[in-house]
Structure formats: C-alpha cells, structure tokens
C-alpha cells in the first residue's frame, strides 16, 4: 500500500479505517508518526488557552431585552387602545347610527395613532447613536422601512378623508415599530 492519505489517518484516529491502512501505519514509520501527530494536534488544540472577550456584552444584552419588553408593552397598550376605540366606535354607531359620531371616533383614533407615531420617533432618536453600524441586511431593511414610511407620509399629505387618514396613521405606526426594532437591536449591539 502507498502511504496513508489524511482521510485514512483521520479514520484510523477515529478507530475506523481499513485493515490495509491499519497494517500500513504499524509498518511505516512516517505514517505512524503522522497518526501520532494527529492525536497530538487534537490534544494541543484542546489545551489552547481560552480566548476572552475584550468587552463586557452583558449590558448590551440587558438593554436589548429591556427595549423588547418596552416595545412589547407598547404594542399591548396599542392593541388594547385599538380594541377600546373599536368598542367605543361600535357603541357610538349602535347608539346614534352612523353620522357625526363616527367622525368623532375617527378623530380620537387618529389622534391616538399620531401620538403613538411621535412617541416611537422620539425613542428612535434616542437610540440612533451609531450613525450606521449595521449589517448589510439590517441596513437594507431599515432603508426599505424608511421608504415605505415616506410613501405613507406623502399619502397623508394628500388626503382629508378620515377613514383613509386613520388607516395611513395606523400603518405608519406599524412601520415605525418595525424600524425601531431593527434600529434598537443593532444599536444595542454596537453601543457597548
């Protein structure tokens, strides 16, 4: 048999390997030394001193989790507010019929969505510390979300119909929340 290949030697090291390879390695000093070196190398790799991180990443983990919890509470509050508004609108419609009351309910909901949108924007401003340290995928996602928000802003400027305004503001809030998630998780990674 010719000398053992690295595949043969690795099989032998794993306790496998062909009979011919096993026979060869006991007879051939060079291949025997190679097999021994393989054993040694694995042992030396296991004995390498552990690498340690240069920075403490726990504060970033904690901050990201706290941001997620805040966002979760916000979303819950928004959903509850939405349900409450829907229930209120239903009550108005039932009690008064569709008329001036419906417009009033739209106004309340639009105001709520505007408030929510402004709050997220404010929080985004507070988190935007890195000025662009994002992965390509995250950056692309952020740009896409910002584009979609800009389209909605354009549409908001061109309509006065309350039902449409409400829909646009609610979609804006949803996109802002997504943008916040992309930005916050990334800035938390780079902020510490």
């Amino acid at each position: 048999m010719t000398h053992c290949t690295m595949e043969d030697l690795l099989d032998l090291r794993a306790g496998e390997g062909s009979v011919a390879a096993r026979r060869h390695v006991t007879a051939c000093a060079a291949c025997g030394a190679d097999l021994e070196a393989l054993h040694q190398r694995a042992a030396q790799l296991r004995a390498l001193p552990p690498r340690r991180p240069s920075r403490d990443r726990w504060p970033a983990v904690r901050e990201t989790l706290a941001a997620e919890r805040r966002l979760g509470r916000r979303r819950l509050a928004w959903r509850l507010a939405g349900l409450a508004a829907a229930a209120g609108l239903f009550g108005i419609v039932v009690l008064r019929g569709v008329g001036p009351g419906a417009s009033e309910a739209y106004g309340d909901e639009i105001a709520l969505a505007k408030q929510e949108s402004a709050a997220i924007e404010e929080r985004l401003g507070a988190y935007d510390v890195s000025g662009g340290v994002m992965s390509g995928r995250e950056a692309a996602l952020a740009v896409e979300l910002e584009d979609r928000i800009a389209v909605i802003d354009g549409a908001l400027a061109q309509t006065a119909r309350e039902a449409e305004l409400l829909d646009l503001w609610q979609r804006r809030v949803d996109l802002m929340e997504q943008l916040f998630e992309v930005r916050v998780s990334r800035t938390a990674y780079v902020a510490f």
Binding site: T5, A37, R41, L45, P50, R51, P53, W58, L65
Partner: protein
C-alpha cells in the same frame, strides 16, 4: 481549555423565572466558553463578540424551553455554534472564502517556516476552523456538524482532512508530509 461549566439547578430555575441577577450569573458563567468557541470558529474578534451577544439574547429568550435533559453548556454551545455558523454562511455570500485564503497567501508560509499551532489554526478558512474545532475540541460527530452546517457528512469529513493536511504542511517537523 478547562473551565468549570456546572451551574446550580437553583440558578437555572431562577433564570427561567426571569430573575435578572440569575440571568447575569449565567452570562458570567458561560461568557468565556461561548466567546472562545465563537472566536475559534470566526476570524474576527468583533464577530465573535456579536455571536456572544446574540447567543445570550437567544438563551434569555428561550431558557424556558430548556428542559434539563442534557447539560446546560451543551444547550448553550449548540446555540452559539449555530449563531457562529450562520455568520460564516452570511460572510460566504459576500466573499469567496477559499479564494481569499489562496490569494492572500497567509495560509502558505515559506517552506521551512514552522508556525505555532495557534497561528496555523488562525490561518485556516472559517469553515475549516469551525469543522476542526467542533470535531477535535468540542467532540461533535461528522453527522452533527453536517446537520449544523446544512451540509453532508462527506463535506464535514473532507473539510477536516483538508484542514489537517494544511496544518501539517504549516507546522512542518514531525508533521512533514507522507502523502
């Protein structure tokens, strides 16, 4: 690498209940082994730190699903290895790793210049490093590595053989080739 990786059950129970001090204690207990695993697999320390962070975010979010069937380190290590491999895959989309390795020349030192093991290992491609580390140090099987990497068993075996052949060439001495 010899580190104590056993943690008290009560600490795990408190972490599962969302106790922030317990979660931080888990982070402190596993910070070095997770970072070391990621750093051995990845070329850049910043990437390894990102993997450390991503791993613990995942640990905190998912610890409720940890049933205690295997060791906690085994569970955390699986998450960390998976995150590191995801990063390697993402990086491979951007660059052709093997081409980089062959063209930079850092993996092929002049004949007769023996590198130490640490430097020789560092010069391997990230995929090769990951396979060598997972197989030779962490004790994963080729089947487990193949599953983690989304590749075949023969891919894992051939990566290991190529990596060791390269290490042998670089380390010289008793590793002088016979094939």
């Amino acid at each position: 690498m010899t580190l104590s990786l056993a943690v008290p059950d009560i600490l795990v129970a408190r972490a599962k209940a969302g106790d922030e001090e317990a979660l931080e204690a888990l982070y402190r207990a596993f910070e070095t082994p997770v970072y070391n695993l990621a750093r051995r697999m990845l070329r850049h320390s910043e990437d390894a730190e990102d993997v450390l962070q991503e791993t613990f975010l995942e640990v905190v979010r998912s610890i409720g699903r940890y049933r205690g069937d295997g060791s906690l380190w085994g569970w955390i290590r699986q998450i960390a290895a998976s995150k590191a491999l995801m990063r390697i895959r993402r990086e491979q989309v951007r660059t052709t790793e093997e081409l980089l390795e062959d063209t930079t020349g850092r993996a092929a030192p002049p004949v007769g210049l023996a590198l130490d093991l640490e430097r020789a290992f560092e010069s391997l491609s990230e995929t090769s490093r990951a396979v060598v580390w997972l197989y030779d140090v962490e004790g994963y099987t080729h089947e487990e590595i193949a599953e983690l990497m989304g590749k075949t068993v023969s891919f894992s075996k051939s990566q290991l053989a190529r990596a060791h052949a390269r290490l042998r060439r670089q380390l010289g001495g008793a590793d002088g080739g016979t094939t």
